[in-house]
Subunit: 323 residues, 2 copies
């Protein structure tokens, strides 16, 4: 049996089990999360985002080492479906991470998209609550940036690092994708490749075009070579510096408030949809409608209207019975 006190004590097996329950949409998760929530407001959550192939996983691997040197405990959630953490064992990247496997201060988990009720974003937030309650000081969320329409890393992370590589025009792509506005730290990885300085310059130019208030954080641009660790210490420090900056300027409180409100709205939506699902699963009429759609006897729009009205009637009936 999964116990809240084991998670609060930082037990990795219990933590891993609870994250699996989230992935499996287990109905017990909700009550557990309610109990954990008040213990989950200490971690510094870093988002690492960028296109596939820019070296996010290698960079995170190196970042873990840097944070560990500072005696900070680190948990990683890989949301990126292309991440080696999430099953890309094909290339053996996973082996590389094994060097942290015996370190009790490091905990790495991936979140697979298995059609979680509230989507991957909610599941990741749920997982972050667990890792925070377990006592990890740094939580890193790895995600593919551009184009993840329904996964907004800025709604989860306190600080967002955007990883690019030289010569791909990623800077321009970032502007197009609107992720330039969301980055707190920009990383030109594989900076031993040609054009690294041009990429740095390009990003700096673009950042200088951002309208910043005096109290705003000015995004940093850093060069790294994750493969051999070059620049990763500076990167770790940039994140920690951003964390301090936010705390000093009350930006952290503000960000937390916004994020919690968003979380609340997601949960409310999910609860409502669950109820709908319950109706659908138990109703013979619903199955009839499905058949009609498949035989083209009704269009999907009219069918949805029909079922929706039935849900209301179903509920009215329940209430009348009650009365």
């Amino acid at each position: 049996m999964l116990k809240v006190k084991d998670i609060l004590a930082g037990n990795q097996r219990s933590g891993a089990r609870m994250i699996r329950l989230i992935e499996d949409n287990d109905p017990n998760v909700f009550e557990l999360l309610k109990e954990l929530y008040s213990h989950a407001c200490h971690a510094f959550i870093i988002g690492i985002t960028g296109s596939p192939g820019v070296g996010k996983s290698t960079l995170i691997d190196a970042l873990i080492s840097e944070f560990r040197k500072l005696d900070l405990t680190v948990a990683v959630i890989a949301v990126d479906p292309t991440s080696p953490f999430s099953g890309g064992a094909i290339l053996g990247d996973r082996l590389r991470m094994q060097r942290h496997a015996t370190d009790k201060g490091v905990f790495i988990r991936s979140m697979a998209s298995r059609g979680q009720k509230g989507g991957l974003s909610r599941a990741t937030k749920d997982a972050a609550i667990i890792l925070d309650a377990m006592g990890y000081e740094i939580i890193i969320i790895e995600t593919v940036g551009a184009g993840q329409a329904d996964f907004d890393i800025t709604s989860l992370a306190h600080s967002t690092g955007i990883v690019t590589i030289p010569g791909t025009g990623d800077g321009i792509q970032a502007v197009k994708a609107g992720i330039l506005e969301t980055g707190d730290v920009f990383i030109v990885n594989k900076s031993d490749k040609p054009d690294a300085d041009a990429s740095v310059y390009e990003l700096q130019m673009m950042i200088s075009m951002r309208k910043l208030l005096e109290t705003d954080w000015t995004p940093r641009v850093l060069k790294t070579i994750a493969q051999n660790g070059t620049g990763v210490k500076e990167l770790a420090n940039a994140f920690l510096f951003h964390f301090d900056f936010m705390k000093k300027n009350s930006l952290m409180d503000q960000k937390r408030k916004e994020q919690e409100l968003l979380y609340f709205k997601t949960i409310l939506k999910d609860l409502t949809l669950e109820k709908l699902l319950l109706f659908m699963e138990t109703s013979e009429e619903y199955r009839e409608v499905l058949k009609k759609i498949q035989s083209c006897a009704i269009d999907p729009l009219s069918a949805a209207e029909l079922v929706f009205n039935k849900v209301c009637a179903f509920e009215k009936k329940l209430i009348k019975d009650e009365i």
Copy 2:
């Protein structure tokens, strides 16, 4: 006033206006779509997907020309936030497309993600219904592939083309992202770069590992240089051949049925959430709860439960009044 008959007549201004209404969540869209639906089952829908920077837009531009040579009318929906169609005017890519601007047989629109009720996926499906009803024979949907958790191109397109470039290890990334299973045609674009043949070989190897039934389509791998049109004619033919193959093997009917069922479920979900929103907007109690969350007087999970119970009570009250 927007008229259904104008859209059915293929009027581009009316079509553009209705797509804008979708983006703006206009409440009138639902009834209009119901009227258009029965006229929207003729188009062949092609999805073009791939990481930013692989040259999707240039490729689509060249594809349009090829389909036009065959006298097929073409509509494009750019869902990719990094697409030049969707506002990447920065680089002037948009200018390149202008060559189709005076061609009445071509219609290009982008779908911006503005938090549409049903998400971008539903909005794109809605737009495809309009373009189909307008009479376009080919509809191309451009999207960023990997990692768009909530945008599954295979739920919209009849044929999916996955664009990669040589030397990026995109093939491996595709396997990791699980998009290899969804591709019907694989395109190695910018194939004048080194390693193009290696990329083709790699993709072919991976496809050969897919377990295919005898009635299944065997995915094609093609080399293109979109910039000068090399290989694009063959690409257009590959898509058309796939279309024929599906029709001959009753795969088209099956795919349509699955996609319409999914569409229906999305709409049903959206209708339910609208109702929830209505409650929230009109309720004083809801605003109280929001304040409590922001002042940390209640956790978001318990708060959601509370409001959900209130929604039910609210509805019971309405029904009692009715009775």
